[in-house]
């Protein structure tokens, strides 16, 4: 969690924000990053358009970019933790260059590796992830001030002319569910949700 003096954003809750996002969805794809991010996505109610990562820390945005490039008419949301994004900051430049307008990225920023024992990330208190995104060329990047602002930014992203990144400060609570760790079923159902293939 970045606590620079200029910041005036509310500390929110990952599960609550994820439920708010999912409640408004129809056939949009959602990519949930490793750990708590996809646990809360699972807990918000499984849907075949959700993809849950069980490893490959840092790849939520790249996977979402691939989906967005393959299906430019479908809105793609990606949920990623701050620690995960720090592993793959370069992807922000790639996404800025390709600029898919159907991609909305959410960074859940609590400044800690909650799931491994709540150790602070190297960025905690010093690095502004939204500023990093803007400097990477993602002009539509902003912090959500509170829950209403988060919902407004999500809506706004659907009409955007380029990719959107939304930073949310969150508390140190763990995820509220546990994703069923069956990678083949997750992938098969996601492909069904994307209209690529029928289930057996």
């Amino acid at each position: 969690m970045t606590n620079t003096p200029a910041r005036n954003t509310k500390v929110m809750n990952r599960a609550d924000l994820t439920q708010r996002l999912v409640a408004g969805l129809k056939d949009e794809a959602v990519i949930g990053g490793i750990g708590n991010t996809n646990f809360d996505l699972w807990a918000a109610g499984h849907r075949p358009q959700n993809f849950y990562m069980l490893g490959s820390m840092g790849l939520a945005f790249p996977i979402a970019l691939g989906v967005a490039l393959a299906q430019p008419k479908r809105r793609v949301f990606a949920l990623e933790g701050d620690g995960s994004l720090l592993m793959q900051l370069g992807c922000l430049s790639t996404i800025a260059t390709l600029a898919p307008k159907n991609l909305t990225m959410v960074v859940m920023d609590n400044g800690i590796y909650q799931i491994t024992g709540a150790q602070p990330t190297p960025a905690a208190g010093h690095t502004d992830i939204v500023a990093v995104a803007i400097a990477s060329g993602l002009a539509n990047s902003s912090w959500a001030a509170d829950e209403d602002d988060f919902e407004r930014l999500i809506e706004q992203s659907k009409q955007a002319s380029g990719p959107t990144l939304i930073g949310v400060r969150i508390d140190d609570k763990p995820g509220t569910g546990t994703t069923r760790r069956d990678p083949v079923q997750i992938r098969e159902r996601f492909m069904n949700g994307m209209g690529v293939r029928q289930l057996l």
Partner: protein, 191 residues
Amino acid sequence: MAAAEQASSKDKAKDKSQDAATTWHGIVLQTLKRNEIRLVPYVPDRVLTTLIKDLHADPYFTTFPTAREEEAVGIVSGAWMAGMRGAVLMQTSGFATLANVLASLAVPYQIPLIMFVSERGTLGEFNYGQALVCRTMRPVLDSLAMEHHTITRLDELEFIADRSIKQAVTTQAPVALILSPLLTGGKTFDK
């Protein structure tokens, strides 16, 4: 003058079609196309220069650099699941960064990840670090029981690449196609 221009563009087209049949990069490009692989993210390598240039020049392909090889693996995995085929180009040292995402994404999710790896570190390597990292590649592939082939001959390239791509797709399993210096000429100290 117009006729001369026409003639020269015809020559160029002829060069290209000869390229397609007689150079390793031409064969790789045509094999990708024939297998409907449109998305080709890469981390560059000197040996791959002509292939990368030709991919950019061909509107059939969506090709672009990524900051890390892992990122490219994530992109083609997402695209595959959403109905678009891809392949990743990289160098040996780039492959060495992939063990975690192969073991936690491509293999367990059964994603037909297609990788072309330009082989550094052998047959005239001048950088000891490259020689060492090269030795980690096949043990990593073998430890995950991943399909891999080292392509050394031009006359075998199309067969190996085409069959391996088809096998990856139909068996939903990743494959690494290692482009040996015997095929590409590699990178040597005096270049």
